[in-house]
């Protein structure tokens, strides 16, 4: 159905797909909102900050394939594009993404915003590392 939207010959072009990043933004927010809702036993919506996703991707080898200057927004976009691609390629399900996040979200209703950001970044890093091998091969070696 959406195959033309996710055609990428190499990792570098996926990381720079700004349209897919926008779809991934919605996907990441949906998964994190449900995971956090389950952990805190209360339905809620959360917007995951670029800084959280940037920290997550910068801690992985994927970040070595970002070309040119890349600020926090650009790194967060790359993370979002990856998640959209993995899901739209049917390499992960939304349920599996949520199930991966839940045990890693060691937060409660008293956790500070700063601490939650650190915990969330580590959880998103773990998520990416788990699925990294499913990504397109890099152009550069």
């Amino acid at each position: 159905m959406w195959t033309p939207l996710i055609e990428h010959e190499d990792l570098e072009s996926l990381l720079n797909d700004k349209g897919l990043a926008q779809i991934g933004d919605n996907l990441v927010n949906l998964c994190y909102s449900i995971a956090k809702s389950i952990v805190l036993h209360e339905a809620m919506g959360v917007k995951v900050r670029d800084s959280v996703l940037a920290r997550a991707i910068r801690s992985t080898k994927v970040y070595d394939y970002m070309t040119g200057r890349c600020d926090v927004g650009c790194a967060g976009d790359a993370y979002e594009a990856i998640m959209a691609w993995l899901w739209m390629k049917e390499k992960v399900t939304i349920e599996s993404l949520i199930q991966h996040l839940i045990p890693l979200l060691e937060i409660d209703s008293t956790t500070s915003r700063k601490r939650e950001g650190e915990v969330a970044a580590a959880a998103f890093q773990s998520l990416l590392e788990t699925h990294m091998k499913k990504l397109p091969h890099p152009r550069t070696s």
Copy 2:
């Protein structure tokens, strides 16, 4: 996994679930973004306005069960809560929601924002009408 988040004995309490509405906000944006991306052959993220979802729900019988004063934000929230509930209850899939929207989105890259809002509202109305029978029974008759 998320059963406790979606327990609603009647339609009225579902329509007023503000937490579920926040999850539904992400879900609706994700579905609409992908549907629009497919229609326009270009990946993009879109935020569906409350006014669009409010118009959609107000055109259906579900709206009769909204209790008390209900402005555009409240009506949009009710729509979002319904979609989150239908999906989390596994009564619809994201793929089926997108597939329902696509043929109804008669827009192109030159469509005005106002016209797109009208088209989207009609598409979301059709979506809700299709799945209305799967909702919890109303408390009032």
